[in-house]
Symmetry: C2
Subunit: 110 residues, 2 copies
DNA sequence: ACAATACTGAAGTATTTACTTGACAATTTC
DNA sequence: GAAATTGTCAAGTAAATACTTCAGTATTGT
Protein backbone atom coordinates (compact mmCIF):
# COMPACT_ATOMS: atom_id res chain seq x y z
CA UNK A 1 0.00 0.00 0.00
CA UNK A 2 1.34 3.40 -1.00
CA UNK A 3 1.68 6.24 1.45
CA UNK A 4 -1.73 7.86 1.20
CA UNK A 5 -1.48 9.36 4.65
CA UNK A 6 -1.46 12.95 3.41
CA UNK A 7 -4.34 14.42 5.30
CA UNK A 8 -7.00 15.22 2.75
CA UNK A 9 -8.20 17.66 5.40
CA UNK A 10 -5.19 19.85 4.69
CA UNK A 11 -5.44 19.53 0.94
CA UNK A 12 -9.02 20.75 0.89
CA UNK A 13 -8.30 23.50 3.35
CA UNK A 14 -5.39 24.65 1.20
CA UNK A 15 -7.43 24.63 -2.00
CA UNK A 16 -10.38 26.38 -0.39
CA UNK A 17 -8.72 29.76 -0.87
CA UNK A 18 -8.54 31.51 -4.24
CA UNK A 19 -5.19 33.16 -3.59
CA UNK A 20 -3.62 29.79 -2.91
CA UNK A 21 -5.14 28.38 -6.08
CA UNK A 22 -3.69 31.36 -7.97
CA UNK A 23 -0.29 30.50 -6.51
CA UNK A 24 -0.67 26.93 -7.75
CA UNK A 25 -1.75 28.15 -11.19
CA UNK A 26 1.42 30.16 -11.34
CA UNK A 27 3.67 27.34 -10.16
CA UNK A 28 2.23 24.93 -12.69
CA UNK A 29 3.81 27.12 -15.36
CA UNK A 30 7.18 27.45 -13.65
CA UNK A 31 8.86 27.50 -10.25
CA UNK A 32 9.05 30.94 -8.66
CA UNK A 33 10.45 32.83 -5.70
CA UNK A 34 8.25 34.18 -2.91
CA UNK A 35 8.47 37.77 -4.12
CA UNK A 36 7.77 36.77 -7.73
CA UNK A 37 4.65 35.05 -6.49
CA UNK A 38 3.57 38.06 -4.44
CA UNK A 39 3.99 40.61 -7.23
CA UNK A 40 1.00 39.79 -9.48
CA UNK A 41 -1.22 38.99 -6.51
CA UNK A 42 -1.00 42.48 -5.06
CA UNK A 43 -0.36 41.23 -1.54
CA UNK A 44 2.68 41.37 0.71
CA UNK A 45 5.46 38.82 0.71
CA UNK A 46 4.51 37.97 4.28
CA UNK A 47 1.01 37.00 3.20
CA UNK A 48 2.39 34.76 0.46
CA UNK A 49 4.68 33.09 3.00
CA UNK A 50 1.66 32.27 5.14
CA UNK A 51 -0.11 30.73 2.16
CA UNK A 52 2.99 28.77 1.22
CA UNK A 53 3.12 27.22 4.67
CA UNK A 54 -0.41 25.91 4.23
CA UNK A 55 0.34 24.67 0.70
CA UNK A 56 3.43 22.88 1.97
CA UNK A 57 1.52 21.18 4.77
CA UNK A 58 -0.90 19.91 2.13
CA UNK A 59 2.04 18.69 0.04
CA UNK A 60 0.83 20.67 -2.93
CA UNK A 61 3.98 22.78 -3.00
CA UNK A 62 7.56 22.16 -2.00
CA UNK A 63 9.89 25.05 -1.22
CA UNK A 64 13.62 25.18 -0.78
CA UNK A 65 15.81 28.07 0.24
CA UNK A 66 19.20 28.59 -1.33
CA UNK A 67 21.03 31.77 -0.47
CA UNK A 68 18.48 34.43 0.22
CA UNK A 69 15.85 33.23 -2.22
CA UNK A 70 13.24 30.55 -1.55
CA UNK A 71 12.19 28.68 -4.65
CA UNK A 72 8.68 27.22 -4.75
CA UNK A 73 7.62 24.29 -6.91
CA UNK A 74 4.56 22.14 -7.43
CA UNK A 75 4.60 18.91 -5.47
CA UNK A 76 2.35 16.18 -6.91
CA UNK A 77 1.59 14.27 -3.69
CA UNK A 78 -1.26 16.53 -2.65
CA UNK A 79 -2.81 16.31 -6.11
CA UNK A 80 -2.58 12.52 -5.95
CA UNK A 81 -4.39 12.49 -2.62
CA UNK A 82 -7.09 14.73 -4.03
CA UNK A 83 -7.63 12.67 -7.15
CA UNK A 84 -7.78 9.55 -5.00
CA UNK A 85 -10.46 11.11 -2.80
CA UNK A 86 -12.64 12.10 -5.73
CA UNK A 87 -12.30 8.70 -7.33
CA UNK A 88 -13.11 6.83 -4.12
CA UNK A 89 -16.23 8.90 -3.53
CA UNK A 90 -17.43 8.65 -7.07
CA UNK A 91 -17.02 4.90 -7.28
CA UNK A 92 -18.70 4.36 -3.91
CA UNK A 93 -21.61 6.41 -5.14
CA UNK A 94 -21.78 4.60 -8.49
CA UNK A 95 -21.66 1.21 -6.81
CA UNK A 96 -24.63 2.19 -4.72
CA UNK A 97 -26.58 3.31 -7.77
CA UNK A 98 -25.79 -0.02 -9.43
CA UNK A 99 -27.10 -1.96 -6.44
CA UNK A 100 -30.21 0.19 -6.49
CA UNK A 101 -30.68 -0.48 -10.19
CA UNK A 102 -30.45 -4.22 -9.62
CA UNK A 103 -33.03 -4.05 -6.88
CA UNK A 104 -35.45 -2.16 -9.09
CA UNK A 105 -34.87 -4.61 -11.95
CA UNK A 106 -35.65 -7.50 -9.61
CA UNK A 107 -38.82 -5.79 -8.49
CA UNK A 108 -39.90 -5.29 -12.09
CA UNK A 109 -39.15 -8.94 -12.90
CA UNK A 110 -40.87 -10.28 -9.79
CA UNK B 1 -17.79 21.03 -25.35
CA UNK B 2 -19.47 19.85 -22.16
CA UNK B 3 -20.90 22.25 -19.61
CA UNK B 4 -17.86 22.99 -17.45
CA UNK B 5 -19.24 26.26 -16.14
CA UNK B 6 -19.64 25.05 -12.57
CA UNK B 7 -17.49 27.49 -10.67
CA UNK B 8 -14.60 25.52 -9.28
CA UNK B 9 -14.41 28.33 -6.75
CA UNK B 10 -17.60 27.07 -5.16
CA UNK B 11 -16.59 23.44 -5.27
CA UNK B 12 -13.37 24.10 -3.39
CA UNK B 13 -15.05 26.39 -0.93
CA UNK B 14 -17.67 23.73 -0.25
CA UNK B 15 -15.10 20.99 0.24
CA UNK B 16 -12.90 23.15 2.45
CA UNK B 17 -15.06 22.37 5.47
CA UNK B 18 -14.94 19.04 7.29
CA UNK B 19 -18.60 19.02 8.26
CA UNK B 20 -19.58 19.38 4.62
CA UNK B 21 -17.26 16.55 3.67
CA UNK B 22 -18.87 14.44 6.39
CA UNK B 23 -22.25 15.21 4.84
CA UNK B 24 -20.97 14.05 1.47
CA UNK B 25 -19.53 10.89 3.02
CA UNK B 26 -22.95 10.15 4.39
CA UNK B 27 -24.78 10.87 1.14
CA UNK B 28 -22.45 8.64 -0.83
CA UNK B 29 -23.91 5.72 1.14
CA UNK B 30 -27.52 6.75 0.75
CA UNK B 31 -29.81 9.78 0.33
CA UNK B 32 -30.95 11.33 3.59
CA UNK B 33 -33.23 13.97 5.05
CA UNK B 34 -31.89 17.13 6.67
CA UNK B 35 -32.58 15.92 10.22
CA UNK B 36 -31.04 12.51 9.53
CA UNK B 37 -27.90 14.30 8.37
CA UNK B 38 -27.83 16.52 11.45
CA UNK B 39 -28.22 13.72 13.97
CA UNK B 40 -24.76 12.08 13.84
CA UNK B 41 -23.01 15.42 13.34
CA UNK B 42 -24.14 16.81 16.68
CA UNK B 43 -25.17 20.16 15.18
CA UNK B 44 -28.55 21.78 14.66
CA UNK B 45 -30.74 21.22 11.64
CA UNK B 46 -30.34 24.90 10.84
CA UNK B 47 -26.57 24.51 10.59
CA UNK B 48 -26.97 21.56 8.23
CA UNK B 49 -29.33 23.62 6.08
CA UNK B 50 -26.66 26.28 5.74
CA UNK B 51 -24.09 23.68 4.68
CA UNK B 52 -26.52 22.16 2.22
CA UNK B 53 -27.01 25.51 0.54
CA UNK B 54 -23.27 25.74 -0.08
CA UNK B 55 -23.09 22.14 -1.28
CA UNK B 56 -25.96 22.78 -3.68
CA UNK B 57 -24.33 25.89 -5.10
CA UNK B 58 -21.26 23.76 -5.77
CA UNK B 59 -23.46 21.14 -7.44
CA UNK B 60 -22.11 18.46 -5.14
CA UNK B 61 -25.55 17.79 -3.67
CA UNK B 62 -29.07 18.08 -5.00
CA UNK B 63 -32.01 18.43 -2.65
CA UNK B 64 -35.69 18.14 -3.26
CA UNK B 65 -38.56 18.76 -0.90
CA UNK B 66 -41.62 16.56 -0.97
CA UNK B 67 -44.17 17.14 1.72
CA UNK B 68 -42.37 18.33 4.80
CA UNK B 69 -39.16 16.41 4.25
CA UNK B 70 -36.25 17.52 2.11
CA UNK B 71 -34.28 14.65 0.62
CA UNK B 72 -30.61 15.20 -0.14
CA UNK B 73 -28.61 13.25 -2.73
CA UNK B 74 -25.15 13.33 -4.23
CA UNK B 75 -24.92 15.23 -7.51
CA UNK B 76 -21.98 14.24 -9.70
CA UNK B 77 -21.48 17.55 -11.54
CA UNK B 78 -19.35 19.12 -8.82
CA UNK B 79 -17.19 16.02 -8.61
CA UNK B 80 -16.70 16.12 -12.38
CA UNK B 81 -15.56 19.73 -12.21
CA UNK B 82 -13.13 18.88 -9.44
CA UNK B 83 -11.64 15.90 -11.24
CA UNK B 84 -11.31 18.02 -14.36
CA UNK B 85 -9.43 20.72 -12.43
CA UNK B 86 -6.96 18.26 -10.92
CA UNK B 87 -6.33 16.61 -14.25
CA UNK B 88 -5.80 19.91 -16.07
CA UNK B 89 -3.32 21.09 -13.49
CA UNK B 90 -1.44 17.84 -13.37
CA UNK B 91 -1.08 17.55 -17.12
CA UNK B 92 0.01 21.18 -17.46
CA UNK B 93 2.66 20.53 -14.86
CA UNK B 94 3.81 17.27 -16.45
CA UNK B 95 4.00 18.90 -19.86
CA UNK B 96 6.31 21.51 -18.43
CA UNK B 97 8.52 18.88 -16.85
CA UNK B 98 8.72 17.10 -20.20
CA UNK B 99 9.79 20.28 -21.97
CA UNK B 100 12.38 20.84 -19.26
CA UNK B 101 13.67 17.29 -19.68
CA UNK B 102 14.06 17.80 -23.41
CA UNK B 103 15.99 21.00 -22.87
CA UNK B 104 18.36 19.30 -20.46
CA UNK B 105 18.83 16.38 -22.85
CA UNK B 106 19.72 18.82 -25.63
CA UNK B 107 22.20 20.53 -23.36
CA UNK B 108 23.81 17.20 -22.53
CA UNK B 109 23.97 16.26 -26.19
CA UNK B 110 25.29 19.64 -27.28
C1' DA C 1 -58.91 20.18 15.47
C1' DC C 2 -54.68 19.33 17.84
C1' DA C 3 -50.12 17.82 18.47
C1' DA C 4 -45.97 16.36 16.64
C1' DT C 5 -42.63 16.48 12.99
C1' DA C 6 -39.51 18.70 9.67
C1' DC C 7 -37.88 22.43 7.90
C1' DT C 8 -37.11 27.79 7.23
C1' DG C 9 -35.68 32.59 8.36
C1' DA C 10 -33.61 36.29 10.92
C1' DA C 11 -30.35 37.77 13.97
C1' DG C 12 -26.54 37.25 17.04
C1' DT C 13 -21.84 35.37 18.66
C1' DA C 14 -17.33 33.46 18.98
C1' DT C 15 -13.69 31.78 16.35
C1' DT C 16 -10.91 31.51 12.30
C1' DT C 17 -8.73 33.50 8.57
C1' DA C 18 -6.39 36.55 5.30
C1' DC C 19 -4.05 40.17 5.46
C1' DT C 20 -1.20 44.16 7.30
C1' DT C 21 2.63 46.70 9.54
C1' DG C 22 7.02 47.18 11.25
C1' DA C 23 11.20 45.43 13.09
C1' DC C 24 14.77 42.25 12.03
C1' DA C 25 18.17 38.72 9.71
C1' DA C 26 20.65 36.89 6.05
C1' DT C 27 22.57 37.28 1.32
C1' DT C 28 24.19 39.60 -2.77
C1' DT C 29 25.93 43.46 -5.34
C1' DC C 30 28.51 47.70 -5.89
C1' DG D 1 31.68 47.28 4.01
C1' DA D 2 27.52 49.98 2.74
C1' DA D 3 23.30 49.45 0.34
C1' DA D 4 19.96 46.95 -1.79
C1' DT D 5 17.44 42.59 -2.09
C1' DT D 6 14.85 38.72 -0.15
C1' DG D 7 12.87 36.57 3.23
C1' DT D 8 11.25 35.83 8.46
C1' DC D 9 8.99 36.87 12.91
C1' DA D 10 5.47 38.81 16.12
C1' DA D 11 1.52 41.10 16.82
C1' DG D 12 -2.65 43.30 15.40
C1' DT D 13 -7.11 44.05 12.62
C1' DA D 14 -11.15 43.57 9.84
C1' DA D 15 -13.96 40.40 7.56
C1' DA D 16 -15.68 35.74 6.88
C1' DT D 17 -17.48 31.62 8.74
C1' DA D 18 -19.69 28.04 11.49
C1' DC D 19 -22.40 27.80 14.57
C1' DT D 20 -26.44 29.06 17.87
C1' DT D 21 -31.22 30.43 19.49
C1' DC D 22 -35.75 31.49 18.88
C1' DA D 23 -39.76 32.31 16.41
C1' DG D 24 -42.21 30.98 12.63
C1' DT D 25 -44.55 27.83 8.59
C1' DA D 26 -45.98 23.72 6.28
C1' DT D 27 -47.23 18.94 6.51
C1' DT D 28 -48.54 14.63 8.69
C1' DG D 29 -50.66 11.56 12.25
C1' DT D 30 -54.37 10.91 16.02
Amino acid sequence: MRNRSIRIERVFHALGDSTRRAILDRLVDAPASVSKLAEPLGITVTAVMQHLQILEEAKLVHTEKTGRVRTCRIEPAGFDALEEWVRAHRTAWERRLDRLGELLAEEDAG
